[in-house]
């Protein structure tokens, strides 16, 4: 009886989790979903999907823009975060430094953007791709530092030193041991950094002044325009890359909670 209850609960949870993805995808294939039809989604219409192939499509450019922004932010944050985290891990002031990393990360990004807006305008970064990347970096980099500080340990430091006494220089200590050994963790951190940048709406919208039309900005725009079918296609485009990265990282995912800054 108990086992059955467990299985039923599991199935229920899985459905709650998986249903939205399937539903949004099906929804994106139709238009004119008139009340009170439930599963008869209206007219089958993959026009919006087809328009993705058009080089002038806003959705396509949004997808590429989001990918570029998130990839650059994640690559910069992971590489600089990993290097910084070692120094902080070894520092006498580790906890104080970590506190300062938590703050921009916990503070609402849109409020952070509001506080920074004036400086971005003065620096000519407002409304530009670089501006959005710089602002995202200010949230994602501290996250990456927090993530990696939780990962560094004495064994890894000792291994790095061992390479030196075996005849390797600082560079080979990183490239031949630290990075290969930490590959799963780097991959996980990359995934999470990418996701934070990929998800961000408020900050991008405010500092991008509506000019940097990433996918979340577009979804909001389509909902405001009462155009749920475009929003659904944009939503599918937003779900796909994280799920792809999740699939790549599947073997290490459960480990990731160990290093999560929200500990």
């Amino acid at each position: 009886m108990k086992v059955e209850f467990r299985n039923v609960s599991k199935v229920l949870i899985y459905s709650v989790i998986v249903f939205p993805i399937i539903w949004i995808f099906i929804f994106s294939l139709f238009t004119n979903w008139a009340f009170p039809s439930i599963f008869g989604f209206g007219e089958f219409n993959i026009n919006i999907w087809e328009r993705l192939l058009d080089s002038e499509s806003l959705l396509l450019s949004g997808l590429l823009l989001s990918l570029i922004i998130s990839l650059i932010t994640a690559i910069l944050s992971v590489s600089l975060g990993f290097a910084t985290s070692e120094v902080i891990y070894k520092s006498r002031y580790k906890n104080t430094l970590l506190l300062s990393a938590y703050f921009p990360y916990v503070l609402s990004p849109v409020v952070l953007a509001l506080l920074l807006q004036v400086y971005f305008v003065k620096a000519g970064l407002s409304g530009s791709l670089i501006g959005v990347i710089v602002a995202l970096f200010m949230i994602v980099y501290p996250y990456s530092v927090l993530f990696f500080v939780g990962y560094w340990n004495e064994n890894l430091i000792n291994m790095k030193q061992l390479v030196r006494t075996l005849g390797g220089n600082k560079f080979s200590a990183w490239t031949k041991v630290v990075i290969p050994v930490s590959k799963p963790v780097i991959s996980l951190c990359f995934f999470q950094c990418f996701i934070i940048a990929w998800f961000e709406f408020g900050l991008t919208n405010l500092l991008g002044v509506g000019k940097v039309k990433t996918l979340p900005v577009q979804i909001y725009m389509y909902i405001q325009e009462a155009n749920p079918y475009y929003a659904a296609v944009a939503s599918c485009l937003m779900i796909a890359p994280p799920l792809f990265l999740l699939f790549i990282n599947r073997r290490w995912m459960s480990e990731s909670i160990k290093f999560s800054p929200l500990r």
Binding site: I17, F35, Y102, L116, P216, Y220, M253
Partner: protein, 280 residues
Amino acid sequence: MKKKILISFFLVITVVPVLAGLIYAFLYSLGITGVISKGLTFSYWKEILYSSGFFLSLFYSLIIGAITIFISFFIAYFIYPFFINGSGKGQLIMFIPLSIPPMVWAFYHYLMFSGAGFISRLSYHLGLISNPGEFPVLVNDNFGTIVILTHVVMAFPFFTLYFIRIHNSEKIDRLTTLAKNFGASDSEVSWRVRLPIIFLKSRVLLILYLVFVAGSYEVPLLLGSQSPRMITVFTLEKMQRFDLYDKPVAYGAAFLYAIVVLIIVLFSLKRSFRTDEGRV
């Protein structure tokens, strides 16, 4: 040398911008800087503190956060044991909701729960309503029902994964056996052993997550009520209004909100760092 460069870089990214932003916001709210600046005045602060609805928004946001955390905590607490053993696929599935952007969750719940949404149609076919107007207002309602629901679907999988980790690291299985040897029943083990451990070990996470939910933006923007508004929506609306005299109020609200967050984070993390050090 490399150390100093990296630490300086870290501080330049984390501390300097926030500090500079806070100073500017504070000066703006005092009328010292900005386009409408006429010198030091406390009138904007009077408005923030007494008439703007700032505290209502802040309180509302924290309540929404607290309810979200409460519900997600108990869902996760009751379901995590199902996923401890097994192939790990169950745990992997828990990552799926975390991979869906809040904006998409908000959109999905909008399609589900709005007047002409999925649930409304289902109710129609079940004979519960005869037209969309009869469907209860769930989206943009004052209770933040769907805002809470949206946050819960994102929070409970994360908590579930986190509790699994606590369960393993705190050796709760062994403690359970021990408690049972002392004569504890299943429910006594759950309420007197498992729950206190999970709660104590996750309380900093819970507080940080509460702050996180309270500071969320896109979900209340799409699904939240107009009055009261969540703090981020409140602040941004003030900022984006045409009335220039609302800007200092927006800056003051952002400043005050940031200070409240800072105090909560400092207080909870300092405690957590202290216990961490104590354990070593």
